[in-house]
């Protein structure tokens, strides 16, 4: 029972979608059915691109060193970073959400917010397959004018986004691959309860707590720290 509640809590969006379909099935089955049918196309689209995006993202994550990403896409990359971001976004395929895992990985490895926004946006509206289609249906002049205006707009609003959003505003969670102790830095408010309760494992890193390197875990102390954390930012998997 608690497991079901936990699932619903962590998948609130999915649960509400299922709920919406269930309601529709009762009051207007035709629309519900049409919705499921429409979804079929998108599922195909997703299966064609998502597996390869995940593998490519993981490969780049494993093999490209952090300093390379910082040099080409970081804050100091300037024009080089902007151009590279536009190129990366333009040669992409798939809907905008396909860019999410890719961009999260790049940001974790040091790409700047500005460049992440450029990749995401050009992935959405100026990718080359889309431009070709656009020229076919709406004419070359239409396509090229929209392309120029869009690129200028992306340049401006990626710059604005970087002014508003800071690196710390993005979720800082590490990939939870291994068993162990995890601390959600976005949730942590730096109350120091855990560092006082279990100083051998937790220490303050600026205004937030972090997990130290450890070989041994005192499960009793850890459990106490997990329960004591006022924002439930500590997890043991």
């Amino acid at each position: 029972m608690t497991k079901a509640i936990k699932f619903i809590k962590s998948n609130l969006f999915l649960t509400s979608v299922i709920f919406a379909y269930a309601v529709l099935a009762l009051i207007n089955p035709q629309i519900g059915l049409q919705g499921a049918k429409n979804s079929g196309y998108y599922i195909k689209e997703m299966l064609m691109i998502m597996p390869v995006i995940f593998v490519l993202t993981a490969l780049l994550d494993s093999w490209v060193p952090k300093r390379t990403i910082i040099r080409y896409l970081g804050k100091e990359a300037k024009t080089k970073g902007v151009v590279l971001s536009f190129v990366l976004g333009s040669i992409s395929a798939g809907p905008i959400y396909a860019a999410f895992p890719f961009c999260v990985m790049l940001h974790k490895k040091g790409a700047s917010i500005k460049n992440v926004v450029i990749i995401l946006s050009s992935w959405a509206v100026v990718k080359i397959p889309m431009l070709l289609n656009e020229a076919k249906f709406l004419g070359f002049k239409f396509m090229i004018t929209r392309w120029i205006l869009t690129v200028i707009s992306i340049l401006i609003f990626s710059w604005i986004t970087a002014k508003i959003v800071k690196d710390e505003d993005l979720p800082q969670e590490e990939l939870r691959l291994k068993k162990g102790v995890y601390l959600n830095k976005t949730a942590c408010m730096g109350c120091t309860v855990c560092t006082r309760m279990y100083p051998a494992l937790f220490q303050m890193d600026g205004k937030r707590a972090m997990v130290k390197e450890y070989n041994y875990l005192d499960m009793k102390l850890l459990q106490k720290a997990i329960e004591a954390c006022p924002v439930k930012a500590i997890e043991y998997i």
Binding site: N11, I31, S39, I43, A58, I91, T145, L149
Partner: protein
Amino acid sequence: MDIFTIAIWVVTLVLLVFSFLKDKEKTKETLKKALFMGKGMALSILAVIFTIGLVLAILPPQQISEIISKQNLYVATIAAAAFGTITLIPAFIAFPLIGTLAGAGVGIMPSVAFLTTLTMVGVATFPLEKKEFGTKFTITRNVLSFLFAIIIALAMGVTL
């Protein structure tokens, strides 16, 4: 599958082979990582997809274009941008639709606004984007994209 999707598959498979030849263990870890990422996002993506399916069933694109074409130019532009945000439509449906929109006398501005928000701003993808990038980033990016979609539309109306 368009040529870019195929190209991404080919490039990735080649890289994977290289990776495997160079370091078997590391490649295994990498694939595990990919699987882990996929598992983490799969349910959310399905939720996004079924939301889009539902939105399109309740509000088919033809109906959207009918509603838009009855408004005056500026209302139509903003309405088109708003409709664009609630759904994601694949390009091969969107372009003919926009072609008819523009042809039916709706004008370029609403068509461009629709096209831009259609792909760049997402209400359906919002929960997923929020999970990956945080609330502040997601709101900022989507709001700015929406505003600039309208600016692009106005500029297109002036130049073409």
